[in-house]
């Protein structure tokens, strides 16, 4: 009898979950639509256009170019065209990098950003949780104070300072690591940009973990577990950490979206051919289709990661219901 009940509740759980995911995905459509619309018009209202260069073009040439890219049509027609094409996955030609379509540029750049971003995220997660837990277990001890001081530095020193300083030390003075470039894509080649991406995240995750771990260690069920004589390693890892992970997990959604879609600063400092650099170059050059596509990708990443986090929440904390 009990087994049947459990089976039933498992089925209900999965159905609720699928229902939840579908509803969330459906609600993502208007969000993406809104993001596209707002960015489309914001972009167009920014002064200057893609072909306003330091050396302006003669009017005839400009007219030819405007016609080629259909920029001579009314804005609302351009908007309808854009929406129609975007739905079919056609983000148009890049105005600036003319040998490529936007889709080609993104397809080429995104894997670079995802590769260094996900490595940095993984390192940050593992490192941050270990350091945070260590600090929490030795609350107010020397190790705790040292770790938290270092993490404050990690959070406050901006990447555009950290990047050049680490390059100076490890590439120019010691000569251990390359100063930049994707090269062969090996870990050694990418160690510096990954480190610079990961450091502030390690610091933030360590602080979050420490805070919630301290709280978790003082809850009733942990005290009960301890009272039952369970080894403290088991108590910390299987019981306390699970609850302590909730704030970290909710932080991971925006962090992962930001890391995987490329950091313009880190990619510029280390000349990584990722999507972050395209975003900045596209925005500065008013490459409307390129900027639009990068904005849509960031939006999609944010939505997807938020969804994943909500699912993870349910798994970590049975009190969270997906209805």
């Amino acid at each position: 009898m009990a087994r049947v009940e459990r089976k039933c509740s498992a089925r209900v759980y999965y159905l609720t979950m699928i229902n939840f995911v579908l509803r969330r995905l459906a609600s993502a459509v208007p969000t993406v639509f809104l993001v596209i619309t707002i960015s489309f018009f914001l972009m167009r209202f920014a002064p200057g256009g893609p072909f306003d260069l330091e050396r302006p073009l003669p009017p005839e040439t400009m007219a030819n170019i405007m016609k080629t890219y259909q920029l001579d049509q009314p804005l609302w027609i351009q908007y309808i065209h854009y929406l129609g094409n975007a739905v079919r996955g056609d983000f148009g030609p890049s105005f600036i990098y003319k040998d490529n379509t936007v889709a080609q540029l993104i397809a080429q750049a995104l894997p670079y950003s995802v590769q260094i971003g996900s490595t940095a995220l993984l390192i940050a997660l593992v490192g941050g949780v270990i350091l945070g837990t260590t600090a929490a277990l030795r609350q107010n001890g020397i190790i705790d104070i040292a770790l938290m001081s270092v993490s404050t530095v990690g959070i406050t020193v901006p990447t555009f300072v950290m990047g050049p300083v680490l390059t100076l030390i490890f590439a120019l003075i010691l000569g251990w690591l390359p100063a930049g470039g994707w090269g062969d894509g090996s870990f050694r080649q990418l160690a510096l940009p990954i480190t610079v991406l990961a450091l502030p995240q390690i610091a933030i995750i360590a602080r979050l973990t420490r805070g919630s771990m301290i709280e978790a260690l003082h809850t009733d069920h942990i005290r009960t577990a301890k009272a039952y004589g369970l080894p403290s390693r088991v108590v910390v890892i299987t019981h306390a950490l699970r609850g302590a992970m909730l704030p970290v997990v909710s932080y991971l959604a925006p962090a992962a979206a930001a890391l995987l879609t490329g950091s313009a600063v880190v990619e510029s400092i280390f000349t990584i051919p990722g999507i972050g650099r395209f975003f900045v170059l596209g925005a500065l050059n008013r490459d409307y289709p390129l900027v639009m596509a990068t904005v849509v990708i960031v939006a999609v990443f944010v939505i997807v990661f938020n969804l994943l986090v909500d699912i993870a929440y349910g798994l970590l904390d049975p009190r969270v219901r997906h209805d």
Binding site: E60, G181, P273
Partner: protein, 532 residues
Amino acid sequence: MVLMKTKLATTILLGSLLLGSSQALAEVVLHRGNSGEPKSLDYAHISINIEGFVIYDLFEGLVIHDAKGAIAPGAAESWKVSDDGTVYTFKIRDNAKWSDGSPVTAEDFQFAMRRIENPKTAAEYANLLYPIKNAEAVNKGKAPVEDLGVKVIDAKTLEITLERPTPYFLQLLSHYTALPISKANYEKFGDQFVKPGNMVSNGAFKLQAHVPNDSLTVVKNESYWDAANVKIDKVIFYPIEDAAAAVRRFEAKELDVTYNFSADQIKRLRASYGAQVHVTPSLSTYYYAFDMRQPPYDDIRVRRALSMAIDRDFLSSEIYKGAQLPAYSLVPDGMEGYGKPPQPDFAAMSQIDREDKAVELLKEAGYGKGGKPLNIEIRYNTNTNHERVATAVANMWKTALGANVSLVNLDVASHYSYLKEGGKFNVARAGWAADYADPENFLALNVSTNKTFNYPHYNNPQYDALIKQSYEERDVAKRMELLRQAETLLVNDQPLAPLMGTADLWLVSDKVQGWVDNATNNHLSKFLSVSK
């Protein structure tokens, strides 16, 4: 046993062969830092020098700039000019070949030039070839492309007819707008001819790989007519828009050559790298334009006073650390046949005398201490160096003339679109780099009919007439004299205040040989070599 011995001998032989050949085959690679990603490899759609650096390694025009920046035969071995200066006949080298081994023909040049002028191509630099007969009409859609004055006489002879004698025509032909395209290859791939695998080129190198924002690799083109003299096997261009990152990669020895770095680095780099730091005066001018449509900038006394009060020596030595030189004329020094450009009368005065004179002029105009207040807004495009210049100039105007100065900066696209669309301003920063080494390229900016580049809205019929006359003048010396007279008007009227002649900044490793600093800023990799 015999078999074993044979095997052993073969192994030894093979091994030594491999060892020997690996030394002989050691690739000579040049790592070139470039200060940005080329927007295209289709020269109909490029407009800046960092794109030129890549394109000139891949393609060769009828004439080229040699290592010293002088015009030299390229794909054409010789040419004749008609007596009236309007017909150029080029003889293309018999051994000029595309990288697929097919011959470079007159038709390839005709095809490429027709394509550039075809309005459908929307080529950004189409106007550069307007001196060619009917080019302007073709580009504006008023004549068919067949009317373009570029005629194929035979496979290796090309005849170009001009609208009027154009003494700087060979300079124009050295520009990337005049490069050939393999017609056969273009017919096969269309606009996709620029992709690795599709591209067929006639320069010293051919395209091997291109990863946008990472690297662009070109390898020696064995079909090139002068391949025997090309000493580099492979050139890798790295697009690095962050100048500090480029310097770090040069210092880490990851780059052999890199272009553009921040002027405030010069002192430090010179101390560490000495002769590897190259500061080359270039054919370009940094200036401040006055909006002559409104008071007080419609008053010549105010414009002259403001221009005089700018201490150009300070800007040059303190802000640019000598990477830019003080300038008083729009046309930069070093134009062949033009001599020293005309200078305003105050150029010879000391800065203190200039300031005294400036105060006097302003007083006459009714501004400054005791007169109407002078409120000035300086507009410039966002850039650290431009900001420092604007801050310094604001301070000079404030202390010397008692002006109230505010600063406005916009990103480069917004800044220039504002000026181009005729937005009102007080003082605006601008710059001009030569498309071709001729004073006309600078002086034509401020002709009253130039709606695009005449930022000050300068309108002097005498000036316009002199420029017009210069177009008709056949005699080189007389033509230059007409242009000098025009510029004399410009420096007297000061519709704009030239501030500095700019310089190109390069870091060139001492491993690289054959590098010659030159004002055209062209450095073809085929003239370079790299030692171990």
